[in-house]
Symmetry: C2
Subunit: 357 residues, 2 copies
């Protein structure tokens, strides 16, 4: 692992995006999204994704300087065409609308088509929570999830996120893929030469496998809940719900029609769909933040089955990781990540990332 | 098993509720909710629940002839006090508001406090779908779910439901508890003398158990996803999200403050919280129903891992059960259920349910 100042990693990502033609603002917003993932301990969604976005811009599938536009609007809804901009540009545009509507009518519900990967769903839900609202964000993704009983994938990992402000500096933060795990977790087990538990992924026959390498090659994740007898069909249902809110509502690509996941950006424009929701809890019972904090603290204080593993409230892992990042002022990357970033710097003629140690 | 004409079971339940003082309309609506659960193959939420509601009326904790009222209202939101009415009365009142608002502003989001059990969440989401809207329903329930790592329960089975209208007579129907399974499934395994899989329930030490009897006695369900390594914390997060929308938003009892589950109705008024959402898909891209039907049919046609187990779209099981019920004109109950219903008839001096065979 090598450490890089958080500000330097942000500078590097911004420069790379500008080097391929993104405006200063678009590059900055996308880089902020990526550095936040590294900051809160989700490196799969951070610098690791940069080249993916760069390749989509280079191929012309992502057009970072287009403008998103509202196609249809009602008091509490908007339908947005992202016009192939970067995911961060599209998501700021759409969540800003949802926030504005929530402050007026109580709810804002915005669907987006024509977009690209928009990073951590939690980043967008949190944007609304920072305004005192309940924020929700959903996106569809390339097919990786096998519906219960199916041999092959037909939906994405389709994450959902809900973030809400609580009293006394607490926050409810849920950001989850609707698969049991992300591909990155399987890759990590494979590299360590370790097995994976039942319910993570399928082999080519459609059976759950413990072989991490086979699972990684097959690329067919199981829904949250795993096998049918442990209610994997609920995870499938949730992934389908996310698609209903995203591609099916917005008219973006959906489910099996979405291009395959690849770092090369083949398959034409991603045309992904997102959904952003903001709700003002002031419209309901007074004391929302107090009840939420009471719940969060109650969960943390529950007697654990194993005293060395305290019960965590949703978001506690991310909070702890962010505190560590901020106290150090650095983010850490694996050697391979540093090497590919230095190669990218050379290719784009951008100042390479400066390593702390 | 004994068969009873569907109309006769509805008549019996309505009569019982009227016998303990519910108005004809309140009794009818609650009985319709219960018979629908029996009709679609979820008998745990049907006639099986009747005595629970009766006991709550007899104890005075449920006041079936009160009127729900709106406490606060915005263009797209309403905050409702159910005033201790039956769950069906409260839910019709609240979902009607959500539907009305969705048809005007695009979205209706209604939270309810002071309510009682409101049966199958899917029944309420479907009410909006029958109006051409995406319907969602959530409710909190008595503590039964152990947060990941916790020895004891702190949240309910907290179901969520999403139902949406699709083209060519199709419908998306998701109705799921956020625990891996309901208590009823464990009870069934216990009666058959069979074990339960990892990830359904905990023993008193907080470890997943395969002993159905111990699991049933402990009464501590695991969240969807099961153990921590198979992402049970996501199911916990979803249950917490449902609570956020229900008790925490509405000011009803929430989480660990909710009375224990019991057929005797101890513990004072349930004061449960619900949340109902309706969204008009006409506010987004044209062709919503076509894309949804394309997805549903694609899922059904996926090659199954086992040819004898075709892939099912969310709601297919319920659809098939309903078709069978309707073709027979009867619902089936286990002997024990019939016996307790006949005893109830005697107690309330209501005409007993007539058995077909």
């Amino acid at each position: 692992m090598a450490r890089v100042a958080t500000t330097e990693a942000l500078r590097f990502m911004t420069d790379c995006l500008k080097a391929v033609g993104a405006s200063a603002k678009a590059a900055q917003q996308q880089a902020e999204l990526l550095i936040e993932a590294d900051r809160v301990g989700h490196p799969s969604h951070g610098l690791n994704r940069l080249e993916f976005y760069i390749n989509d811009i280079l191929s012309g599938d992502c057009k970072p300087n287009n403008q998103p536009q509202i196609l249809k609007e009602n008091a509490s809804t908007a339908w947005v065409d992202a016009n192939c901009v970067l995911g961060a540009t599209a998501s700021h545009f759409a969540m800003d609308i949802a926030i504005k509507k929530a402050k007026t009518t109580g709810v804002g519900w915005v669907t987006v088509k024509g977009s690209n990967h928009n990073g951590m769903a939690g980043y967008w839900a949190k944007k609304a929570a920072n305004e005192g609202l309940i924020g929700m964000a959903f996106t569809n993704t390339s097919p990786l999830l096998a519906p219960t009983r199916s041999k092959k994938a037909a939906l994405g990992t389709n994450p959902l996120s809900v973030v809400a402000p609580a009293a006394d500096g607490e926050q409810f933060y849920l950001d989850m893929a609707t698969t049991a795990v992300a591909v990155g977790k399987i890759e990590m087990q494979m590299r360590k030469g370790e097995s994976i538990p039942d319910g993570w992924a399928q082999d080519p026959s459609g059976t759950t496998t413990n072989d991490a390498e086979l699972a990684f090659k097959t690329g067919c994740l199981m829904p949250l809940g795993g096998r049918e007898e442990t209610a994997g069909y609920k995870g499938f249902g949730l992934a389908a719900m996310v698609e209903l809110f995203c591609g099916i509502s917005s008219g973006a690509k959906y489910g099996h029609h979405i291009r395959s996941w690849s770092h090369q950006g083949e398959g034409g424009p991603a045309n992904l769909g997102h959904c952003f929701i903001a709700v003002d809890p002031e419209n309901f019972a007074p004391g929302f933040g107090d009840r939420l904090t009471d719940s969060i603290r109650h969960w943390r204080e529950l007697e654990p089955a194993d005293n060395s593993l305290p019960v965590l409230a949703p978001g506690d892992k991310e909070k702890k990781a962010a505190q560590l990042t901020d106290s150090l002022g650095t983010v850490s990357y694996v050697k391979q990540q540093i090497q590919s970033s230095q190669a990218l710097a050379k290719k784009l003629q951008v100042k390479p990332m400066e390593i702390v140690n």
